[in-house]
Amino acid sequence: MRRAWVPLLMLAACTSDPVLESRTAALGSEDPAVPVGEDHRAGQPCVTCHQPSGASDRHFALAGTVLWGPVKLQGVAGARVEILDARPGPLPPRVVTTNCAGNFFIDASDDLTFPLRVRVVAKGKTRDMRSPIFRERSCAGCHESERSPSSPGPVLLLGKEEEAKTPYVPPAECAQ
């Protein structure tokens, strides 16, 4: 009877993905102040979990978080994320809008053809990505929380000086 478990254990070992598991573990615990849902884990790489082999049943084609400025790091509600994908022909960009946490996501059922060009528009400010996205589906896969030689830092609409001059005012439905 014990021997019957051996193939099952071997199968389990084969189906696990240690790289993905370590990335998922690196995300840490949920913030107890934010319920699990569309506002949770702002600024983290969403598609670590929201992919077919990830921990969530909901899968995203592209997802991320848009912040107002580098000092207060406030999520921007209602920002338009415009995505131009590589499908041939003159097609309009896909547009998705951020929620109160600044999060946005496109379901995996809405297939995107990489590479993608992306820009963010909110409150009269526009920010274009300077390079295309070739395959990363989480903004935070490259846009980590801190600037470094391997990351431009979070997705920000404004620089430090602009943020000081123009504080973010959330819409009424998002004000806490």
Binding site: R130, S131, I133, S148, S150
Partner: protein, 180 residues
């Protein structure tokens, strides 16, 4: 000052090539790699310009774990302290430096040094012997998929003309302009 730094980078590359037991003159040229088109004292064309923009994004070859690791202006930057000419080392916040161009050259020629030497000695004949060509042509598994549509693709012409000893910079520029 920039010219001096470029000269130092070229010298550093030459020394590194010797240290790696790559015979100088048998690898494709560094000059063709960095290109001749200047902007603000920096040479931006050539093979480096093409590779940086088409392959060097942070989600592809702009990662330190890659065999073909590429530094580029909007991708991975050389950490401060490693680059003698480093400005801001954040992606997108400063032009690519001569030291980064030199490191890119070494990354490319050290992929398959003996084979590349052979291709260069053969005047660039049968460049598909190299992974540098095989992968973007789709002949070998490439996580980024097939990049060159065919042998007229500007990127293909850019790389193969460099291997043949006379880089076609207009195609290198057309290659990344096309992708953008």
């Amino acid at each position: 000052m920039r010219r001096l730094l470029l000269g130092c980078a070229a010298l550093a590359v030459a020394c590194s090539v010797q240290q790696m037991n790559l015979s100088p003159g048998t690898q494709p040229s560094f000059e063709g790699f960095q290109g001749t088109q200047e902007q603000a004292g920096l040479k931006l064309g050539g093979v480096n310009g093409y590779l940086g923009r088409s392959c060097g994004s942070l989600d592809c070859h702009g990662q330190v774990g890659r065999g073909l690791r590429l530094y580029s202006e909007t991708g991975l930057r050389m950490p401060e302290g490693r680059a003698s000419d480093a400005g801001d080392t954040t992606p997108g916040l400063g032009p690519i430096t001569p030291a980064e161009v030199g490191q890119n050259y070494l990354a490319v020629v050290a992929l398959e040094p003996e084979l590349m030497e052979q291709v260069v000695a053969d005047g660039g004949d049968r460049p598909e012997r190299l992974l540098l060509i095989r992968k973007p042509m789709g002949y070998d598994t490439h996580k980024g998929g097939r990049i060159f549509l065919d042998v007229t693709d500007p990127g293909y012409v850019c790389l193969t003309s460099w291997l043949a000893g006379k880089v076609d910079e207009s195609q290198c520029r057309a290659g990344w302009a096309f992708k953008e």
